[in-house]
Symmetry: C2
């Protein structure tokens, strides 16, 4: 069988719940300075679901919209995979629930992909490999609802979904060798099976993210340097970066880390002295210290600053306004870049894009190339419109009540609510029996009318 | 990139807990006739775990043994995926826990694959595609611990794990086009997140299995007929069958169903009158009735009977003695076939093997070909030795006690117990905090010394 060429991203659709919390208002409600959540986390807003939406309904909505937008005939889909860590059943996959959209074509491979925020990337890799070998079109879904039980972590919640159409003759293709890194670490995990909240060791998780970034970036440069064309390769050699974004400050730290890594990698070579000499004082800092050193962080941020606005900011628009959507986060970042790249989507043509992703711990880094105009791909995203239409409120549904949300309240109506996905919703147990606990913020926020 | 040839199964290792329940003894304890569990379900024994084993430890054990047996250098592995529905964490994958075996090579892609009993098959497909495109070796793990809360369903529990080495120049390769079938059905699911037990609609689940089989077999014959060589193609055209085995009676029903399907598919053709004429009385039976009709079942079983012993029985040895191991079940069946094929493993050389699999609802059917001697692949399985060494007991650990199991009691010692997989086990919450509920049989079985 001959391999199919130019397999990549042919379409992308995003969805996030319309309601959100303003970080400033949340800080006020929490009795902390606003800067703790804005400058401190780098976040602006955080999307959240009401009781009428769940992981199934937001996944159905985003897939339905992708199919309409891309005019997909369900019969052309051969693989469908879902990355998520919002688990409402220990056996039945979200993928199988999505099959209600494909009753005329049940011959679709795939299932759910699970490892914290990484599942969507595994789904994408599987879909790309499958298309290259078997032909046809694949759909990749990444969707999550991120809730935290600890008050300190609550501002890093969020919600969102993305659906990606993968197939041949795509305007965005993978290039070079993708690299992966995986460790057995307990930085963020969810051992309490009857609740939605993770156990998080925040400081350790930051280190795990950066350690994965170190490993991926070093290996990536070694394996793909010849494709980048610059000598020496540094972070400045790449046009755009997309990072998994648990909160924007993490993205800032990750980007500045690359400049430290460039110096470490190159300082023994002929290029050494010229590479970021202001970072020379940190050349011999023990590795473990580099993860926590504030002086290094400040120095690296200063080196990275001239590049951040053009190379990173375009991808941060959605994640800073929807919060952490776990598996969907990196693809919300990608969608943002496609719509917001300096000079408009047309400017991306022919430019190289580096993707980076780190989590739980599975991580990967790869490069994508825009090889054809992406106007059709981005025209229906309307990210700025959707951000403008976000409905900011401090009202969060109270745990003990029956679902009070009027469907009209979920404006920019999703295509599905969890009470409409019959027979799925009827067959699923109700949320309390289901072990799905109340929204995380219920106890700390005033109940008020939609604002 | 050129596609890598003859990618397939290069090694296979199985593991199951040493302790088991005899179906006859269990029936006696349950106060039902022994035949209900033996002839009725087609089962002989059922393996179960003690408190010292869990999904992580049995997965670690089977991978460690595969690596030793196949003399695998961890540095050669590029992808590792786990299919399971035994979820003890909603975020962290079993795959990431297995990375403790690969500390010298953390550059390994993959994560967990979830959809009831199907995840292992998705993992295998991913690994095959990955190897064909990217080279290197992959490991596929399928492992589960099947427990049922309802007394009636308990005899269909079980436990087991399998690890498969996938790579180039393999003695067993895939041939032809694999087919898939997926539906949004609620026949078996696990919405009670704080317990291990599924919600099962047994009669409906049987129909979903058969409906998936119908769809896969019909499509498979249409797409791969030219490879089989027989005209017309019927179930008799294939040498061996491997079915997902929730219990052996299901396998018997599935096999006999193929003969009914052959007649349905061919009766309008020139071959029609000659194809299983004893099934003619059911030609016009409404489809829904065919799933439940006892007379059809009896007639189809009679047609299938001459073929069952040679084509199916060789693959049923392990599943009838370990019970349902969910994702691992079909690969325990495969391992059984490899060791038990009539004439020994050498007899499989060049013969075609059809695999079939149905579940939750994702299903797939594909064909494998043994293209080189598999002696090295099968030599370390020792399935018969392991069955002989099963320790039958009615003793099941009592829920309320601290883990009382001496490691020496887990004979044919696993490489890992859950108290040894430090730091994983320490980091995980203890079983009760963890939401992992006590063993299913604790309440119905007498506590007695190991038998």
């Amino acid at each position: 069988m001959s391999e199919i060429q130019n397999v990549g991203i042919r379409g992308i659709e995003i969805y996030f719940p319309h309601r959100c919390l303003e970080m400033v208002a949340l800080a006020e409600a929490d009795g902390v300075p606003a800067g703790k959540y804005t400058a401190g986390l780098g976040q602006t807003r955080m999307a959240f679901c009401g009781d009428r939406e769940d992981i199934i309904s937001i996944s159905l909505t985003v897939v339905k919209r992708l199919m309409e937008k891309c005019n997909i005939d369900p019969k052309d889909i051969g693989r469908l995979e879902v990355g998520t860590e919002t688990i409402i059943d220990h056996s039945k996959s979200v993928k199988s629930s999505l099959m209600q959209l494909f009753t005329e074509n049940p011959f679709i491979e795939g299932c759910d992909q699970i490892n914290a925020c990484y599942g969507g990337t595994n789904a994408l890799f599987n879909a790309l490999d499958w298309c290259r070998l078997h032909g046809g079109l694949a759909i990749v879904v990444a969707a999550d609802i991120a809730l935290y039980g600890e008050k300190n972590a609550r501002p890093t919640g969020g919600a969102g979904a993305v659906a990606i159409l993968v197939g041949p003759n795509a305007p965005i293709v993978m290039e070079g060798t993708r690299v992966a890194f995986s460790e057995n670490v307990y930085d963020f995990y969810k051992p309490h099976l009857s609740e939605e909240y993770p156990v998080v060791d925040g400081h350790f998780s930051l280190q795990c993210y950066l350690r994965s970034l170190d490993a991926c970036y070093t290996r990536f440069c070694a394996q793909n340097g010849h494709l980048v064309g610059a000598s020496p390769i540094t972070a400045a050699s790449f046009d755009y970066f997309v990072f998994h974004s648990p909160y924007n400050k993490m993205v800032q730290k990750a980007f500045s880390r690359l400049f430290y890594l460039d110096r470490q990698r190159l300082r023994g070579t002929e290029h050494g002295p010229a590479v970021h000499p202001t970072l020379a004082p940190f050349d011999d800092m023990p590795l473990q210290e580099t993860f926590t050193s504030k002086t290094l962080q400040e120095a690296a941020t200063a080196v990275a600053a001239p590049f951040y606005a053009t190379k990173v900011t375009p991808s941060t628009r959605l994640p800073t306004h929807t919060g952490n959507s776990y598996t969907a986060s990196i693809y919300h970042s990608l969608a943002s870049l496609l719509e917001n790249a300096v000079g408009g989507p047309a400017a991306l043509l022919g430019k190289r894009i580096v993707f980076s992703y780190g989590s739980g711990s599975c991580a990967a880094m790869w490069m994508m190339r825009v090889r054809a105009p992406i106007d059709r791909l981005t025209s229906g995203l309307h990210i700025e419109d959707q951000i403008r239409a976000q409905q900011c409120t401090l009202r969060h549904l109270h745990a003990a009540t029956q679902p009070p949300t009027r469907l009209s309240f979920i404006s920019r109506r999703p295509n599905f609510s969890n009470s409409e996905t019959s027979p799925s919703a009827e067959k699923r147990l109700n949320r309390s029996e289901n072990g799905v606990t109340p929204p995380a913020l219920a106890s700390c926020l005033p109940i008020a009318p939609p604002g």
